[in-house]
Amino acid sequence: MTDITPTQSGNGLLAHLGHVMRENPVTALSFGLFAFFVLQAFFGHLLVPYDPLATNSVRALEAPSGDHWFGTDQLGRDVFSRVIVATRLDLTISVLAVAISFVIGSVLGALAGYWGGWLDSVLNRILDTIMAFPLFVLAMGIVAALGNTVENIIYATAIINIPFYARVVRAEVNIRREAGFALAARLSGNGHMRTLAFHIFPNALPPMMVQVSLNMGWAILNAAGLSFVGLGVRPPTPEWGIMVAEGADYIISGHWWVALFPGLWLMLAVFTFNLMGDGLRDLVDPRRRT
């Protein structure tokens, strides 16, 4: 149970990162893939050969070729361009959802873990209730109730992820509430809030980072799943879940490329975040290194 010390130099961290990457090529691969997706999200729309919304009924449902690397869909749109452009929307949804649940979960968990008492009991009851729902089903219900928009997909995904963050932070804060360094911080004149925010909470960050990476994967899957059942993103917009749903109608007639490529990209993105979670765990917690 060692706490991270602020004396650790930035240089040492970089060296450690290099060491972890060399030690475990899979981790290096996951960081590489992550960079690949981030680049797509930022510059994808500039790089793609076709307009993702431009239809061309003459060349509908063409198999992959030199012109159309991933083939064309039922309206003659270029699947490659759509898959690449969709990256931004899918990543945005999951990043925002995870950010919201990170912030709300941290605040609630930290307060409950620090003060305990009725606040803690009430929060635990609420979290238990959220967890009592099958999470994807709850997300469906929330989107149905709030209205069928992209923002509501983000809120729904955020709500179902809050319990995970709140629990991690609550546990980490709770075990350090009476720790020596926390008491020392209080004695030297810091208020409760300041001690909690700047002395205790940072210790919860390493396990949180791992959680963030794993959650990103879930958030993408969740958002894509919601669009797959027809919630949130509306059809002409390129989005992986919707593209797979559209392609599903053509798979029975053998037009595999319409569904395969968006599905592969979705899978690869989730895979990247899951691998990164394991890598981050190695990075922040040397004891767990395998």
Binding site: M131, F136, A145
Partner: protein, 341 residues
């Protein structure tokens, strides 16, 4: 002997606040609907007067706490409202479709347990071997698979390319008649009826969706089994058992596996949460007439009573499953009786 039942009773009591919470959330979801429910329930040909009548009939003119009481009263009578799309009570719709979902889910879970648990055990016993690596790849790949995508891939390979699977539409090909309804599970009902051809037909239809769901649940179960087995194998009682000269077989299955099983059973609760969600997606892909595809159709048609009924039913089902899992945990673990609080 009374001490043995105390934790079970305590666990039963603990579900009460959760059920109340679930009902409150589903009430809030019902009231947060976009638009005016009265307009929706009054139908297409509604006049302002008939909308007002519906509003009074539904109790929507009353205060929220009063509405909540009305909602609870209706729930206690099994009234989940009426589906706009099918025109039947939501409860009737759900209960006719529930067996299809349960058959799919349970088959998938049994299938994935049969594969994942031996795999996890082997991976833990032969740590670092190819089985371990296989387990690791499977676990990481498995959690990344979007169920709806795996389903589509399986359809492409086994229906379109190989032609092994029947067309992915529903529970039974139209050449067969539905077996007489006893349990609602086609596999069981057809056997009870003595109709083996229908049984084979139902099994064929069930294979692909069940495999899709099983692939999805493989990862968490295998991962947990491996971790729990590793913990068990490195503990002191295993060292003692080995030192006492027990056969490796006895040590592995009699001591390590039995102890490792407990955390695995608890993980099943979490797995169920994922499965019930993934069920919705798989049912849509395979046009499976369960409650998941019912909810998807309802969503498309903005049939909110049906959606909310579905969410509530799934939540209650999940609470029930967790209760059963925890109770079986209490019953399996012999230590519970002595260390009761």
């Amino acid at each position: 002997m009374a001490t043995r039942w105390l934790p079970i009773l305590w666990r039963l009591v603990q579900t009460i606040p959760v059920v109340i919470g679930v009902v409150i959330i589903s009430f809030v979801l019902t009231r947060a609907l976009p638009g005016d429910p009265a307009v929706q329930f009054a139908g297409q040909m509604a006049t302002p007067e008939s909308i007002e009548q519906t509003r009074v009939a539904l109790g929507l003119d009353k205060s929220l706490p009063q509405q909540f009481l009305i909602y609870c009263k209706a729930l206690l009578q099994g009234d989940l409202g009426r589906s706009v799309a099918t025109g039947r009570p939501v409860l009737t719709d759900l209960s006719t479709r529930l067996p299809a979902s349960l058959e799919l889910t349970l088959t998938a879970l049994v299938l994935s347990c049969l594969i994942a648990i031996p795999l996890g055990v082997l991976a833990a016993v032969r740590q670092g071997s190819w089985v371990d690596h296989l387990c690791r790849v499977l676990v990481t790949a498995g959690v990344s698979l979007p169920t709806f995508f795996t389903g589509i891939l399986l359809i492409y390979v086994f229906y379109y390319l190989l032609g092994w699977a029947p067309s992915p539409l529903g529970r039974l090909d139209f050449v067969y008649f539905d077996p007489p309804r006893v349990t609602g599970f086609f596999l069981i009902d057809s056997v009870l009826d003595g109709d083996l051809r229908t049984f084979a037909g139902a099994a064929k239809q069930l294979a692909l969706p069940a495999i899709t769901l099983a692939l999805f649940t493989l990862a968490p179960i295998a991962r947990m089994t491996r971790a729990a087995m590793l913990t068990a194998l490195s503990s002191d009682y295993i060292r003692t058992a080995r030192a006492a000269g027990l056969t490796p077989r006895k040590v592995l299955f009699g001591y390590a596996f039995r102890n490792a099983l407990l955390p695995v059973v608890t993980t099943l609760g979490m797995v169920f949460s994922f499965v019930l969600g993934a069920n919705v997606l798989v049912e849509k892909v395979f046009a499976w007439p369960g409650i998941g595809s019912y909810a998807v159709e309802a969503l498309v048609q903005s049939d909110y009573a049906a959606v909310q009924g579905f969410v509530l039913a799934m939540a209650l089902l999940f609470v029930l499953i967790n209760l059963v899992i925890d109770l079986s945990y209490t019953l399996i673990d012999p230590r519970i009786g002595f260390s009761s609080k």
